[in-house]
């Protein structure tokens, strides 16, 4: 069997999907065409004043019924086709449809006046569609056959070899026996058909090739990203290993396993421990983000957001009390809908949001956490009256390692990964996160910040 699969079709799944979709589309279109043909037969006499001869009427009814029958068969056969390049596949199926249609159309054209019928325009429609889906060699062969058969028909009618079926009432004078007209019409018919086929075919192929190239580059990009994340993870892990050993030794000294330590040395060792803890935190954050990026799919468990928030707040209780923060948690939803997502990831995200709010609060702190319905999802707002975020930093705060200028100058420690992690998690759930600063709790010297997370019910 001739392979109709073009050389550029590398991504078989997408390629076959497209072909199958088109085949179904043709079948549906054909039902419409049959319907129109019948409607034309019945109504043309009244509306257009056209009168068909008996032969014409019988022929057209027969042709339309045949189209209807083979379309039904095609519709049924379609389901059993396998996308195997060397066996009968959807591409061969397209070719069969095309040949059947062109044959039927040739007959319709013959019985509605040959060269005189406007229905011959439908040839162009068929050939352009064929050019879009079939390989060049095949479609050119078909185009030449159609032109050849058309010429034969015109020639045979002109010389009265076959009878001419004029449409009574459409043309004043018979045109099929006018020499100049037949030659001119046939020449233009052939030329226009060839041009359409060549142009449509080459444009279609260019487009396909570009599409394939795009898919290819996208795949390469994704693969490179995965490689990069794996590399980052292995490097960071290698860094973490000695850090962990160092940290353990420090703890052994600090926790007095080696006996008492001089106060001055102890003080400096505490600083060493704080700084190494910072480095370990950073390695952990980077590992987390890398893992998130490597995660193709998140878990889809039913989650009560309120429960996660309660558990987060419970864990932050000590922090809240120590900073003497007034915390308000409101659930404004009428129905407590559950969302689908990864509990562990969302807990990390919410915990980061709340601890951020607490971290950057100085005195007389207020934190408001509001849960609400919004569109087809839920909205969580975490609003504080802390030190806020300078306007120029707002755009970048979700970037990896980015730390706002005011927190650096005020000496807050951190890795600049917290918001990046939150954003990744929210986006993995199909949600969005926005930031506002100053927040609505703002007062003198306490602009505050507000983070608004939207999570769809079904991502």
């Amino acid at each position: 069997m001739i392979s109709l699969v073009p050389s550029w079709a590398i991504y078989y799944d997408e390629f076959w999907d497209a072909i199958k979709r088109r085949n179904l589309w043709f079948i549906k279109l054909r039902y419409g065409a049959v319907l129109m043909l019948f409607a034309f037969l019945v109504s043309s006499e009244f509306i257009l004043g056209i009168k068909f001869t008996n032969t014409q009427s019988i022929a057209l009814v027969l042709i339309s019924s045949t189209i209807l029958i083979y379309n039904g068969i095609l519709h049924w056969v379609r389901k059993f086709l396998k996308c195997d390049p060397i066996k009968f596949n959807p591409l061969h199926f397209s070719l069969v449809q095309m040949l059947l249609d062109l044959t039927a159309l040739m007959l319709v054209v013959y019985f509605t006046g040959g060269i005189e019928t406007p229905l011959s325009m439908l040839f162009f429609f068929h050939m352009i569609i064929g050019s879009l889906i079939l390989p060049g060699a095949i479609i050119y062969t078909i185009a030449f056959s159609v032109i050849f058969l058309f010429f034969i028909m015109v020639f045979a009618e002109y010389h009265f070899i076959i009878p001419h079926h004029a449409i009574a009432g459409l043309f004043q004078a018979p045109m099929y026996s006018n020499f100049t007209f037949t030659v001119l019409y046939s020449a233009v018919f052939g030329f226009v058909m060839l041009m359409s086929v060549v142009l449509a075919n080459s444009i279609a192929h260019q487009l396909y090739r570009m599409e394939q190239k795009l898919v290819e580059s996208l795949d390469q990009l994704n693969a490179a990203e995965v490689e990069k994340q794996k590399y980052v993870m292995s490097v960071v892990h290698e860094i973490k290993t000695p850090l962990a050993a160092l940290h353990s030794y420090l703890d052994i000294v600090l926790q007095g396993f080696l006996g008492p330590v001089n106060e001055k040395i102890l003080d400096k060792l505490q600083r060493v421990r704080a700084r190494s803890a910072e480095a370990i935190q950073l390695t952990n954050d980077v590992l987390k983000v890398s893992k998130l990026r490597l995660l193709d799919e998140i878990k889809k468990e039913e989650i009560k957001v309120r429960d996660i928030l309660s558990s987060v707040l419970k864990k932050q209780r000590a922090n809240i009390d120590r900073k003497k923060v007034k915390l308000h948690f409101k659930d404004n939803r009428k129905v407590r809908t559950k969302i689908l997502g990864d509990k562990l990831l969302l807990e990390i995200a919410f915990s980061n949001l709340v601890s951020n709010a607490l971290k950057y609060i100085e005195d007389e702190g207020v934190v408001e956490i509001i849960l609400d319905e919004k569109g087809k999802g839920i909205q969580l707002e975490v609003c504080d009256n802390g030190i806020g975020i300078p306007e120029k930093d707002l755009e970048k705060i979700f970037d990896d390692f980015y730390r706002a200028s005011n927190i650096k100058s005020k000496g807050y420690e951190g890795t600049g990964m917290g918001l990046s992690i939150i954003k990744h998690i929210v986006e993995k759930h199909g949600g969005t996160i926005e930031v506002q600063s100053p927040s609505r709790l703002a007062s003198q010297n306490k602009p505050g910040a507000s983070f608004i997370v939207f999570l769809p019910l079904e991502s």
């Binding site: 353990s248 396993f257 562990l344």
Partner: protein
Amino acid sequence: MAKIVIIDDDPDILDASSLVLNSKGHEVITATNPEDGYRLVKDNSPDLIILDVMMNEPDDGFFLAQKFRREKITVPILMYSSVSKTVGMSFGVNELVPVDDFVEKPISPSLLVEKVEHLLQLRKEK
């Protein structure tokens, strides 16, 4: 006091862990690779095994733990990990790996002592 086998490819971690556990009066035997570790456990029948997740290969620790369990060695296993609660690989105790508890690296001496004593206590009660 208890006999503990520690298997980790980082000699400093072995040293630090031994130091801490020795100070609590435990006898500590160490190995730097899964093969030696396996032999140590077979020969010494310890009261507790401490295993690192990653040695030469990322999952060495898991495989070794599985091997012990398959051979009906029911000694409690404490696993050193750097990924226990990070994203995408959350495993709880006995969920995916047949171990009894995790200690996340860097190891805090006091936490290590606490977990070791707890596991030894459970073993005694059995």
